[in-house]
Every structure is written in structure tokens, then in C-alpha cells.
């Protein structure tokens, strides 16, 4: 039986989770919310995390009704992510591991998402679409590694949504993506946007620039085209949100479908913060049904960054015999999904 505590803090969420032998004991989280129109900056985010992290550790132990002595391993996010917030989690995890005399385990953030999604949904060997504010990847497991089949060649899909929300001055509470999703429900007119799939990869930065100009034509006077006026005398923000979602989610569904065909898989698992978007889930579900496949998705407790996924992935690593020397408990901003040797899967 492995009881594991995990700390996640790679972006604007800080979370602590406790899991014992697959049973969820605690999963608490705080989000650093910036004013509308503003993103979160590394040092300010780290400051927020420092202020709440110890309270969260207390809360998680209380909720789980366990004592530190009951734990077998302390896990933290090693990367990828922004260095200052990552460091907050790492320093607390290191200190706790030494105080409680427990082994310490650094976990890849993406692996955390994948393993949590598999655990919650029970998907066996799915094609994984990992979509969040910092990552966009289509992943399949093969030969002890999670292989990246396709990914974004510039910004992440969540970053595209977040930044468009900033242009519209939508609030960041509870999350910019959620507010775009709500606004899109009032949109009906499809405005044509660039559709950028390059082989198995996707690109979002061009779409973002394009839709930014549509949303606020005064900002970019360098356009020689007059088509904007002809095309859209007035573009409603709701229609833009609707069109943006339809376009970028269609791109994601396309590359996911191609990965399914390539691997002969009929399961899809969506993980990551954008994964709780119901429109994306719906579109993916239609594609899966047409192929006779099955979609697995989770709700915001497990989709959005959380400490539990780090605890769970760390526990899997620990169970399979992986150990990390204390001296290697650094953090790293770049840490690819396919760098991790998957010691806990035998298929």
C-alpha cells in the first residue's frame, strides 16, 4: 500500500493532493487570479503560491485524516513550467521530505495529467490529447515511453484562448477559458478563421493574431486589406468566441483522429485544463462515435492542474521501484513527456 502526498505548482494553480492505493483522500487547490486583461507573471505567481502553500498542506492532511507518518512518499512537480512557482513546490516538498524522513519524488507534470486521467476514467491504452495553457500534445504509449505524435509548433491552445480572453477583457475568474466557453454559447455566426494543421502538428499564433484584429480592428492599422469591413461590419464577441472554439477544436480533433488511425486505437483520453471544455469533449465524442471508439474525459477537479495527479503519478513511480536521489530534486522549465521512462506499465 502506497500513501503519497503530491504538490503541484507549475503555473497559476497551486494544489496539494493525497492518494492511498488509488483512493483519493484529499485534493485541495488555489488559483492565482489576475485582473481582466492581464496574464500571470512568474514572480507574482510564486508570491501567491508561497502565501498559501503551507495552509494547503495543512488542509490536505486534515481532509485526508492522516498523519505525516502515514505517508510513504512526498512528490512534487519537477517540470515543465515556470521556474519561480515550480521552485515554491519543490522547496516545500524537500523540506517536508527531510522533516518527515520520507523519500522524495520529482514528477513530470504531463505524466501526472496522463496517469490521473487513466486512473479516474479507467481507460487502458488510449490516445491522449493533452491540452492546457502551456501544452498541446497528442500522445500515445509505446514501449515504455509516452510518445508525442503531434504538438503545437508555437503557443498552446489554452494560451491562445487565454490571450483572446484578455483582448475581450473577460475575467480570469474562474478561468479565461471557461468564460470564453460560456460566451461562445451565445454565438451562432461562424466567422472564417485560418485553419492551421501541419501534418500531425498544429499552430495557433496566426489564428490568434487574426482574431485579435477582428476583435479590435483599431489596434492593427497595418492591414492593407479592406475585406474586414466587407466581411464583418460588426463582429460580435460571442460569434468570435464561438468561431475560435470551433476552429481550434476541429484542428485538435483532426490530429487526434489521425493518431487513432495510425495506432489502431479506439480510445481517446482528454486531459489538461482545456480538457474540461464541454464543447471540445462534445466534438471529440462525435468523432469517436463515428469511428466506433470511446471518449474518456474528466471534470475540472482532475483536468485542471492539481496536486492529486502528482501524488498519483509519483505513487506509481514509487511502486515500480523508481527512486530519486535527494540531490536531484531540482526543477526544470523544460521537461518533455517522452523523456520519462514509464517503469510502471508492462504493456
Amino acid at each position: 500500500m502506497v500513501c503519497s502526498l503530491g504538490i503541484e505548482g507549475s503555473a497559476n494553480k497551486i494544489g496539494v493532493g493525497i492518494i492511498r492505493d488509488g483512493e483519493v483522500l484529499a485534493n485541495v487547490r488555489r488559483t492565482y487570479i489576475t485582473p481582466p486583461g492581464e496574464g500571470f507573471l512568474p514572480n507574482a505567481t510564486a508570491k501567491h503560491h508561497r502565501e498559501v502553500i503551507l495552509t494547503l498542506v495543512q488542509e490536505s492532511l486534515k481532509e485526508a485524516k492522516i498523519k505525516p507518518a502515514d505517508l510513504d512518499v512526498v512528490c512534487y512537480t519537477k517540470g515543465p513550467g515556470m521556474a519561480p512557482p515550480l521552485l515554491v513546490g519543490a522547496i516545500v516538498a524537500r523540506t517536508l521530505a527531510l522533516l518527515w524522513e520520507k523519500p522524495l519524488m520529482g514528477v513530470n507534470h504531463c505524466i501526472g495529467h496522463i496517469e490521473m486521467g487513466r486512473h479516474i476514467t479507467g481507460a487502458q491504452n488510449p490516445i491522449i490529447l493533452y491540452v492546457s495553457g502551456g501544452n498541446t500534445q497528442v500522445i500515445a504509449y509505446s514501449n515504455k515511453k509516452y510518445r508525442i505524435f503531434g504538438e503545437t509548433i508555437d503557443i498552446a491552445v489554452g494560451n491562445c484562448l487565454d490571450r483572446f480572453a484578455r483582448i475581450l477583457k473577460l475575467p480570469n475568474d474562474p478561468s479565461p477559458g471557461y468564460n470564453i466557453e460560456q460566451m461562445a454559447k451565445n454565438g451562432s455566426k461562424y466567422i472564417k478563421l485560418p485553419y492551421v494543421v501541419k501534418g500531425m502538428d498544429v499552430s495557433f499564433s496566426g489564428i490568434l493574431s487574426h482574431i485579435e484584429e477582428l476583435a479590435d480592428p483599431t489596434k492593427n492599422p497595418n492591414k492593407r486589406k479592406k475585406t474586414q469591413e466587407a466581411e464583418s461590419p460588426e463582429t460580435k464577441p460571442a460569434d468570435l468566441c464561438f468561431s475560435l472554439q470551433e476552429t481550434i477544436f476541429a484542428m485538435l480533433v483532426e490530429i487526434t483522429e489521425r493518431a487513432m488511425a495510425h495506432c489502431g486505437s479506439n480510445e481517446v483520453l482528454i486531459v489538461g485544463g482545456v480538457g474540461c471544455n464541454e464543447r471540445l469533449q462534445k466534438m471529440m465524442e462525435i468523432m469517436c462515435e463515428e469511428r466506433g471508439g470511446k471518449l474518456f474525459a474528466t471534470d475540472e477537479r482532475y483536468c485542471i492542474d492539481n496536486g492529486l495527479m502528482i501524488a498519483h503519478a509519483g505513487a506509481e513511480m514509487f511502486k515500480s521501484g523508481t527512486r530519486m536521489p535527494f540531490e536531484e530534486s531540482f526543477v526544470t522549465q523544460r521537461y518533455r513527456t517522452d523523456e520519462v521512462l514509464v517503469t510502471w506499465r508492462d504493456d
Binding site: 495543512q58 505525516p68 524537500r94 523540506t95 527531510l98 518527515w100
Partner: protein, 111 residues
């Protein structure tokens, strides 16, 4: 740019802890992170019984300041963790310092 000093700037911090054990914990926790390469600061940590000694060398005062202040952020977090969880066997330490949160906007959700 005229050079003000050819010698490196230095700073030594001496940080005592209640016990040798706690000093060693802080030493191990804070030794892991290396200085960023582009910062041109050398940081060495050592232990003198219950005192953690940190020495900084830097080419520029500005870099020295950056290195020291980020070291302090890490040290304070480590100290706070020790304060709250140091005597792990004890039941529940007082509710964490909520007053620190002033200024930061934060939304709660527990699953």
C-alpha cells in the same frame, strides 16, 4: 562603461538554527538549486554546527542583490515549513498565517 572594481563583490550570510539537525535540513534543501548560468554569481553553502553559512561571489552588485534576494525567498519558505511542520508528531499546529494572504487574489476550490 568605466569599471568601478576589478575584484568580485562578495557577501557572507550566517544563519543560525535551533538545532544542528534543522540547520542540516536547510542546508540540504537549499543546496539543490544552482544559480542560473547567466547570473554570473557563485554561491557556496556550508555548515558550521548549527549555523548555515552562505557565501556569494558576483561580478556586479546588481547580480549579487538578485542572487541574495532569491536565496532569501527560498530560505524563508524553508523556515516557515519547518516552523509549521517541524514537530510532525504534535497534533495540529495553529491555522496557518492567513494574514499573509492580503493583497493576493485567490479562489478556492477543493475537490
Amino acid at each position: 562603461m568605466p569599471q568601478i572594481s576589478a575584484k568580485p563583490y562578495e557577501s557572507t550570510l550566517r544563519l543560525p538554527f535551533d538545532t544542528q539537525g534543522l540547520a542540516e535540513i536547510a542546508y540540504r534543501v537549499l543546496s539543490v538549486d544552482k544559480e542560473p548560468r547567466r547570473n554570473f554569481v557563485q554561491k557556496t553553502l556550508s555548515l558550521e554546527l548549527d549555523v548555515l553559512v552562505v557565501h556569494f561571489y558576483a561580478d556586479q552588485v546588481k547580480n549579487l542583490r538578485t542572487a541574495i534576494s532569491s536565496f532569501f525567498e527560498a530560505l524563508l519558505l524553508c523556515q516557515d515549513t519547518i516552523k509549521q511542520f517541524g514537530n510532525a508528531v504534535a497534533v495540529e499546529p495553529a491555522e496557518a498565517q492567513e494574514e499573509n494572504n492580503a493583497g493576493a487574489q485567490s479562489s478556492t476550490d477543493s475537490a
